[in-house]
Symmetry: C2
Subunit: 193 residues, 2 copies
């Protein structure tokens, strides 16, 4: 711990805020808890970050940026992308919760994220042949993300009953994306009306 170092204090506050918001969300988070966890005074949070809202936004931006930067997108190899995303989520459970809170409490905080997704979709469109016709590349990306996130968003009640081994889960994710990419979406076999 280094007192009298504004930059270090700012960083400590942000890290404590990430943990606090990940656990309790925006409404449940307490500024005093952030301050004491960061070994910083409460008022420093306001001098450095302005308000609880802005601190939350800073946390969200850091988390989203971290996720998109740490998991490079390979439009020509979506199973590998899914594997990287899966690995990242396993290694960073905090980001899973942050993202869930964001969807609920900041559904329209999308400036940065929309750009990230637009890039990925553009990359997919540039290749073109990845998915069969009948669905846009954005639709394919939705499914790939859903499968990659599957084990991160599964209710604990179900996760407790399933395979606990990471390797098995990972292989299942990769294989699922493989078959989704190879599948033909032009015609549905049955209608399931």
């Amino acid at each position: 711990m280094s007192p009298r170092d504004a930059e270090a204090t700012k960083k400590r506050i942000l890290e404590a805020a990430v943990a606090e918001f990940a656990q309790h969300g925006f409404s449940g988070a307490r500024i005093d808890r952030v301050a004491s966890a960061a070994n910083a005074n409460k008022s420093l949070i306001y001098t450095y970050y302005g308000s609880k809202d802005q601190l939350f936004d800073a946390v969200l931006e850091a988390a989203i940026g971290d996720l998109h930067e740490s998991v490079p997108f390979t439009p020509d190899d979506l199973p590998a992308f899914g594997a990287r995303l899966f690995d990242f989520l396993v290694a960073h459970p905090v980001e899973i919760r942050i993202d869930a809170w964001r969807r609920l409490e900041r559904p329209t905080n999308t400036t940065l994220e929309q750009q990230m997704f637009a890039e990925k979709i553009a990359a997919l469109d540039a290749i073109g042949s990845t998915a069969a016709d009948g669905t846009s590349s954005a639709d394919l990306l939705v499914m790939v993300l859903a499968v990659s996130w599957a084990w991160a968003t599964v209710p604990e009640a179900l996760g407790a009953l399933a395979s606990a081994e990471i390797d098995l889960r990972r292989k299942q994710v990769v294989r699922s994306i493989e078959v989704l990419c190879e599948a033909d979406f032009t015609a549905s076999l049955n209608e399931h009306a």
Copy 2:
């Protein structure tokens, strides 16, 4: 509206609570807002439901029960199950949020839910041949749910860029589950290390 009817008042309170908790979660919900939305006095909430916590639990139980009852499970036709689940989520966006809040704020409220999942897994195991080897039926269920929920959990930033038509999304979900059920999980084509 019928005053002096305890049962009706209790119901109004629960309905208002569902809306309030769906929008704000547990920490963000305000008992006073529930009271005024239900056209009931605040203290009635405490006489009928005990506490904010118990009211939240009542809301969760109602929502979970509603979901599992409204979407019958057909272990021999998972694509149809996925279609029903998809339709239910489209028709009941409130339940989507309630479920998301539950995962974050009541991760261990699993008594009822664990039983629901156990039944589904047992039904899948009884059939046995549904999925290929290499994954348990619980693992398969995780993927089926992830795909069915895909459009409900997709970040708004991505959903805005994808196909907006429900029919298209539905067909994609059904087809995805089809190929997942037909797929062979014994061997992974590439390792994606």
